[in-house]
């Protein structure tokens, strides 16, 4: 029965992943391996030509730069993020909880908004960029803008991972080290660092993946010289119709991101079930040096993570003050884009929620069946495989997905179903991931108690399981909604002109000449940011709504 339930639950997401992810990726592989043409003449059936990528200076630079900018971001995020995380994990000060909550902000902000934020701050007309340009220090056509944009998103990720990791450090172990003669620095290096290093490595794998396969930031901030492979794939497909070289690049990207993702999965398995520890208690800062550390940490977060958003708000406020903001909002193309954004998000969110629920409940059913019967090696592999499958859309970049879909279903590319399907594909892992974690932490006893009290499986789900994981479901849906609202790459590939969304409209505005268009783009970015935050807040619900599933069960 449980096996049957697991299979029927898995059917929907399995079919979805097969049609919208596996099949397009296989088609892409066929394109990349089969043609292997880099512009010097099509040589079908000569698979080794795909290695020629490394002989082409231009394309080689694209791959090398993609790798370099991701690696540099990792180093910068670690150097800046670890001290900030340490301060947040070890010091107690007013506003600390708020700072930790605000660290979620970049996860909700759409990529294009972040790109606009960087321009509003460091661009030629930006708050800091304009005076620099006047002094002869233009940041355009330098890697700085892209690296800064990368840091905006990823510093918060490293800080959060660092705080979580530092809270897992056992206080008695550090105390033991200190009583054995270690100075605070030696205790950190010899006891704390070995505990937190795997967590940080796992976070840095994610940072690398995000940056390496990033598209929106690189498209807007990279310029000609510092654009990444994903931007190159888009340019080759959309402007040059060179599908062969694009296929070769996509295959390389798939291989490289796959390798990093495997490293990430391996680290995550090592980090599973850390067990209970007595964490090191936070202390109030004492003395000027400790307060300086707190202020420095807050200043770093303000400069990297908050300043671009504040700059957008400032520019948009000025546009509204001058009357231009209201005019932009009243334009028919803005209203159409707003309507498209909202309805696409609603449709994608509905689909993503169904898929995420089915996926997570299937994982739960497989695990329960294994727990009841004693899992065999094959069942264990199936359980692990299905669990990992939820992360596949994270590994394959949106550009790769969109390009694969374009190749596989050319006659469907202007179909709304395919567009919404692609949106849902990118959004549903958030729902599945959040629910899987909540269901893993939910004792099996609740469902068993309900069953022995007469509740049928469907009633157990409705009356017990869903209410207990409701908060996790809402959180997953909030991230899914933010993803759908800010979706950009897939929309560029698969959308029709009348389906312009806020993100594509911002991109169009940026492509038009003149300061007025840049201001309009900033106003639209402000609207998109507000929309993302509103959707996130409304769906996630109040933060102080304690999760009932985590309540103490025995008083």
């Amino acid at each position: 029965m449980q096996r049957l339930t697991a299979r029927s639950l898995a059917l929907l997401p399995l079919a979805f992943l097969a049609v919208l992810l596996a099949a397009p990726v296989l088609r892409l592989l066929a394109e990349g391996f089969g043609t292997g043409d880099l512009g010097g003449g099509v040589v079908p059936g000569e698979p080794l030509r795909w290695l020629a990528l490394w002989q082409d200076d231009y394309l080689r630079w694209r791959v090398v730069w993609s790798f370099l900018q991701a690696a540099i971001t990792c180093v910068l995020a670690l150097l800046l993020g670890l001290p900030v995380a340490w301060v947040l994990a070890r010091r107690e000060f007013a506003g600390r909880a708020l700072v930790l909550r605000l660290l979620m902000l970049p996860f909700v902000v759409p990529t294009l908004v972040a790109a606009l934020g960087v321009l509003a701050l460091w661009g030629p007309r930006g708050w800091l960029g304009a005076p620099l340009a006047e002094a002869g220090l233009s940041l355009e056509e330098t890697p700085w803008l892209l690296l800064y944009g990368n840091l905006f998103f990823n510093l918060c990720l490293v800080v959060r991972a660092g705080v979580d990791a530092l809270e897992q450090v056992s206080a008695p172990r550090v105390a033991a080290a200190r009583t054995l003669g270690a100075t605070p620095w030696r205790a950190f290096w010899r006891v704390e660092w070995p505990s937190i290093a795997p967590w940080l490595a796992s976070a840095l794998c994610l940072v690398f993946l995000y940056c390496f396969s990033g598209f929106g930031l690189a498209l807007i901030l990279g310029g000609q010289r510092y654009a990444t492979v994903e931007v190159e794939i888009y340019t080759l497909v959309a402007y040059e119709l060179a599908l062969g070289p694009a296929g070769v690049l996509a295959v390389w990207m798939l291989g490289l991101t796959g390798a990093v993702a495997l490293g990430y999965a391996w680290l995550e398995r090592r980090l599973a079930a850390p067990g209970r520890v007595t964490p090191i208690a936070r202390t109030r800062p004492r003395g000027a040096l400790q307060w300086l550390a707190v202020w420095a940490a807050v200043a770093v977060l303000l400069l990297v993570c908050a300043a671009p958003l504040i700059a957008i708000l400032g520019h948009a406020a000025r546009a509204f003050w001058q009357g231009q903001g209201a005019a932009v909002l009243a334009e028919p193309e803005t209203l159409a884009a707003l309507w498209n954004t909202l309805r696409f998000t609603a449709m994608a969110l509905t689909l993503a929620t169904g898929l995420g629920l089915s996926h997570a409940l299937a994982v739960r059913a497989i695990d329960s069946a294994g727990a009841v019967r004693g899992a065999s090696a094959a069942q264990g592999a199936w359980a692990l495989g299905w669990r990992t499958a939820a992360y596949l859309p994270f590994v394959v970049s949106p550009v790769t997905v969109a390009f694969g879909l374009l190749l596989l279903y050319p006659s469907w590319t202007a179909s709304l179903a395919l567009l919404i399907g692609a949106y849902a594909l990118l959004a549903y892992p958030f729902v599945a991931k959040s629910l899987m974690a909540a269901l893993d932490n939910l004792p099996a006893n609740y469902a068993q108690a309900a069953a022995t009290l007469g509740a049928r499986p469907w009633r157990v789900l409705w009356r017990v399981t869903l209410p207990l994981v409701g908060k996790a479901l809402r959180r997953g849906m909030a991230f899914a909604a933010a993803t759908a609202l800010g979706e950009f790459a897939v929309t560029l590939f698969l959308s029709r002109p009348e389906w312009t969304t806020l993100t594509t409209l911002i991109y169009q505005r940026l492509g038009r000449p003149g300061g007025a268009n840049l201001d309009a783009a900033l106003v639209l970015a402000c609207v998109l940011m507000g929309l993302a935050l509103l959707a996130f807040t409304l769906i996630e619900g109040p933060s102080d709504d304690a999760d009932p599933a985590t309540k103490t069960r025995v008083g």
Partner: protein, 214 residues
């Protein structure tokens, strides 16, 4: 009468239960004693229908119920950690099973309140379950189990989460309430004193088989 006939169960390719048979009359409490991992909780879950045996059958009043899902068996299982639903308040926890039996919510709540009064928990009807003490949570769990008038009561180490004084106090209360209900009960425990206080008969679980103790 609840009967388990020749129950076999493997765990991780090793026999956990090797042909276990047990019968419990209505109004009788039987204790199962054994070390952790000896299979006594698994036997209880097989009786409840939460796990399927590899071989063997479960009978109640002469009817084979092996294939019957747990919600249709009419047994109540009390868990070691009580498994009270944290998203529901005390009265809704107790009323849960009645609602599943098709009783209207308002009526189910009314009956649950009456039950809570009998258990000395009337003042806590609207409280959240995690605000109750361990002993109060235990009573709520028993009230929830008994309100549906189950055909059998299965107790999986119900007192192990409580301190010694409370454990002793509740044993007597539970014995009386089970006797009043007049149903078959199986008590799984590793505490012999508890088994002696609660049960008329006791079996030890060793190497997958039952050994009579008294």
């Amino acid at each position: 009468m609840l009967e388990l006939r020749d129950i076999h169960k493997q765990w991780d390719h090793r026999p956990l239960l090797a042909g276990v048979s047990l019968s419990v009359q209505a109004g009788e409490t039987v204790a199962l004693l054994g070390a952790s991992g000896s299979g006594k909780s698994t036997l209880l879950k097989i009786a409840a229908g939460l796990e399927a045996p590899d071989a063997g059958t479960v009978w109640f009043d002469g009817v084979d119920i092996t294939e019957l899902p747990p919600e249709q068996r009419g047994f109540a299982l009390m868990f070691q950690d009580f498994a009270l639903f944290p998203h529901l308040n005390v009265v809704d926890n107790v009323a849960f099973g009645l609602v599943e039996q098709g009783v209207r919510k308002a009526q189910a709540r009314e009956r649950a309140r009456t039950m809570l009064q009998r258990f000395g928990l009337g003042a806590h009807a609207n409280s959240r379950v995690w605000t109750l003490s361990g002993g109060e949570q235990q009573r709520v769990a028993l009230a929830r189990a008994l309100i549906t008038q189950p055909r059998a009561l299965l107790l999986d180490e119900p007192f192990s989460a409580l301190d010694a004084t409370l454990r002793e106090q509740l044993r007597g209360e539970f014995r009386e309430r089970i006797r009043e209900a007049g149903i078959a009960a199986i008590l799984v425990t590793h505490d012999e004193a508890e088994a002696r206080a609660m049960a008329q008969r006791a079996w030890g679980m060793k190497d997958g088989a039952l050994v009579p103790l008294w």
